[in-house]
């Protein structure tokens, strides 16, 4: 009986010893020398693995940071400036602060603003709906309301508003990782600078149809009348494909465009209430002539 135990111990012990020797030499031969700073950088990253930086995961980003000569070309949108300065201090470099960004929905076609003309009863997936047809409303450019962006968001920064039928971005949670930008088949999300005191001005419409059909499909559509383009003194507004676009780098938040927009397609966020109300009648008369000339 003791013999059996003895032989077993010797055999197993022998195999173990032999394997460990083989493993030791193999490990020496195929040693991967990794920069120890990668681990240090990874420790200060948020480890969300969201891909917002353009790399497959946080470790790949850390690797890129260590290899990079200039950290300014790299940015972790989730951690923001705070994380980037930590990364810089680990690597003994300096980094300039970047303007924080936030995802913005460029559509205001809520249930109240857009009339529904059909019902989509297939699988609740925006890409499938967009491949199938134009959408439940006459606007073929607007939000389909099936919430693919909400599913794509890793940070709980979005929810569908059942009243408007549109997704809402929770600014405090949004890290500007860009997952929703990639997910939306209608390209309705844009990452825009958060702005001072989170104040932002943007055109909440992506409709490239001409004025008349755009307005017919949605009450708050951009009809491409170029009134805002003319009102802007800072060259921040460009007109293309029957719609206006506001460059957030040039915009000084003067709100001149918001006042002239005849369809309220330009949104202002987080501004204090206005002191003086603009004379409405003057504004209301102009756009109608403008729309006509646009259609000819």
């Amino acid at each position: 009986m003791n013999d059996v135990i003895l032989y077993t111990l010797i055999t197993l012990g022998g195999i173990g010893a032999l394997s460990s020797i083989i493993l030791f030499f193999v490990a020496q031969k195929f040693k991967v020398i990794e920069d120890p700073r990668i681990d240090l950088v990874e420790e200060v990253l948020p480890l969300a693995n969201c891909g917002g930086c353009g790399y497959p995961g946080c470790r790949n980003f850390a690797d890129a940071c260590v290899k990079a000569e200039d950290l300014n070309s790299l940015y972790c949108p989730v951690g923001g400036n705070e994380t980037m300065s930590k990364v810089a201090s680990v690597l003994g470099q300096t980094v300039e602060g970047k303007e924080p960004q936030v995802a913005v929905l460029l559509c205001n076609g809520s249930n109240a603003n857009r009339k529904h003309t059909s019902i989509f009863d297939s699988a609740a997936n925006c890409t499938i709906a967009a491949n199938t047809y134009g959408g439940e409303t006459e606007c073929t450019h607007g939000c389909l309301g099936l919430g693919e962006c909400v599913d794509a968001c890793n940070f709980n920064a979005m929810y569908m508003d059942p009243v408007t039928g549109l997704p809402v971005v929770i600014e405090d949670n949004c890290t500007a990782c860009g997952a929703c930008v990639k997910a939306c088949p209608k390209n309705l999300f844009e990452l825009r600078n958060k702005g001072k005191k989170s104040r932002r001005i943007y055109v909440a419409c992506m409709n490239t149809d001409k004025g008349a059909p755009a307005k017919k499909a949605c009450d708050t559509a951009c009809i491409g009348c170029s009134l805002c383009f003319k009102a802007c003194k800072y060259d921040a507004i460009t007109m293309a494909n029957n719609k206006a676009y506001i460059d957030y780098n040039k915009c000084v938040l003067c709100r001149a465009c918001v006042e002239v927009c005849p369809t309220n397609a330009i949104h202002e966020l987080n501004f204090p209430p206005r002191k003086v109300k603009p004379a409405k009648e003057e504004v209301a008369n102009e756009p109608s002539t403008e729309v006509k000339s646009e259609n000819q």
Partner: protein, 444 residues
């Protein structure tokens, strides 16, 4: 034993209400909206502008490449608008609106009813004529016919197959055409045989149309090399690959074309359009459309000018019942629901199908119970449940390796699923994403 394809297939209830209804010519509408893209391939270039006077059969949009087809005016009158207008896809697409004035045809179109059997044109001239006349596959896929007939070097064609299966339930347009225009179809087939340089053609007809089978068999005795083959009723026998397997017992390889097994398949409606184009010089500007459904007062087969509003057809068939829930362009299996009824009839519209409210609702989506019914009915031997799962989880590499691109989108899987899962919707999603990936890979 009747021939059929061996793998998969379903047999939905046929509901051919409009069978045996004579083809009625629909009165000219007040205006037509002709979309500038009615085929698969490159977009066309619109030749007319607002205010131009056009005649019936006049070319209004030129093919924008080899894989493209000319568009002709279906009415005479004045162009009132060239603009982006909603078509059956639910998107705005470039279209030409023509206000109808009179019915003045181009002079070189032969409007007589005489049968012209003698084929004077040569092989090349026939293909050129077909391309000029804007003929596309009328089965629904609308692939330009002249492309299918231009055989690349190194390929050999031995057989022509005429697809007269009409396996979609409800639709009867092809059936009625065969009953009324048998000789024209057979001449059209002979023209196709000459263009392809083959001496054997098969016309495949499903056994639920015994009158068409006997009628065409009788007539085909006068034409050399045409044989009518009766097939067992099984959906989707009208798919090219299924038809070839059923008639000739040849299998088109994965990712291949019928040409790889020496076949060309053409729809029976296309054969008729080719007869009219080659023998009568008539461009493709009208087609036969079935208007049907359980709630339709007068299910009919109409001869319709391209560009006529779907509304007009529904009115002619007795109007929309108040209990209507869905209007489908095409058949119930592969057709597409319309988001509005003022969209024009195009070259590819084979039917307008009206579902009652209770028929039109999709059942609630329930979890997959792993019954594998979808696998057993898939005519391409795919695994639909798996394709749906991997495409839902955006694992597009797996979608590609599981051969999603072989899917012919017949919808048998969704039809048969006891949990009413939207299998085909997700497979289509996977297919479109995989196509994008392949395209970007090829560009590199």
């Amino acid at each position: 034993m009747l021939k059929t394809f061996p793998v998969g297939g379903v047999h939905p209830s046929e509901n051919k209400f409009s069978a045996g209804k004579k083809i009625e010519t629909l009165p000219l509408p007040k205006s037509v909206t002709i979309p500038a893209g009615q085929h698969i391939g490159a977009p066309t270039q619109i030749l007319v502008k607002k205010g131009d006077a056009v005649k019936v059969g006049q070319i209004i949009a030129k093919a924008g490449g080899f894989v493209s087809a000319n568009i002709h005016s279906s009415v005479s009158g004045k162009v009132s608008k060239v603009d982006d207008i909603f078509d059956s896809s639910g998107y705005r697409r470039p279209s030409v609106v023509i206000e109808v004035e009179g019915d003045e045809w181009l002079e070189d179109i032969d409007r007589s009813e005489n049968l012209k059997t003698e084929i004077t044109l040569s092989k090349e001239e026939i293909i050129k004529k077909i391309s000029e006349m804007g003929i596309v596959g009328l089965g629904g896929a609308t692939f330009p016919t002249h492309v299918k007939l231009s055989i690349p070097d190194g390929k050999k064609v031995g057989n022509l197959l005429i697809n007269a299966v009409e396996c979609e339930p409800y639709l009867t347009a092809d059936h009625q055409l065969m009953m009324e225009k048998a000789d024209e179809i057979l001449v059209g087939t002979t023209i196709l045989m000459k263009a392809l340089n083959v001496n054997k053609a098969y016309i495949g007809i499903e056994n639920n149309k015994p009158d068409a089978i006997s009628h065409l068999s009788e007539k085909s005795k006068n034409y050399k090399g045409i044989e009518v083959v009766a097939l067992k009723v099984q959906y989707p026998q009208g798919g090219e690959k299924q038809l070839i397997k059923a008639v000739l017992n040849r299998e088109v390889p994965s990712g291949g074309l019928p040409l790889d097994v020496g076949c060309v398949v053409q729809n029976v409606g296309t054969a008729f359009a080719i007869y009219e184009a080659v023998q009568k010089n008539k461009p493709l500007f009208e087609r036969i459309v079935t208007v049907t459904g359980k709630s339709v007062n007068k299910p009919s087969n109409f001869l319709v000018r391209i560009g006529t509003s779907t509304d007009t057809l529904i009115e002619a068939a007795g109007g929309l019942h108040e209990n209507s829930g869905k209007v489908v362009s095409g058949g119930p299996m592969m057709g597409k629901a319309l988001s509005r009824t003022d969209v024009p009839i195009t070259k590819g519209s084979s039917g307008v199908l009206i579902f009652k409210e209770e028929e039109s609702k999709r059942d609630e989506i329930k979890p997959c119970i792993r019954c594998a019914k979808c696998v057993s009915v898939c005519p391409m031997g795919l695994e639909p449940y798996l394709l749906m799962t991997v495409s839902k989880s955006q694992n597009y590499e797996r979608v590609e390796s599981e051969r999603a691109l072989d899917c012919i989108e017949c919808g048998s899987c969704s039809y048969t699923c006891p949990s009413s899962r939207p299998l085909l919707d997700y497979i289509r999603l996977g297919k479109s994403e995989v196509t994008k990936i392949i395209r970007s890979r090829n560009q590199k």
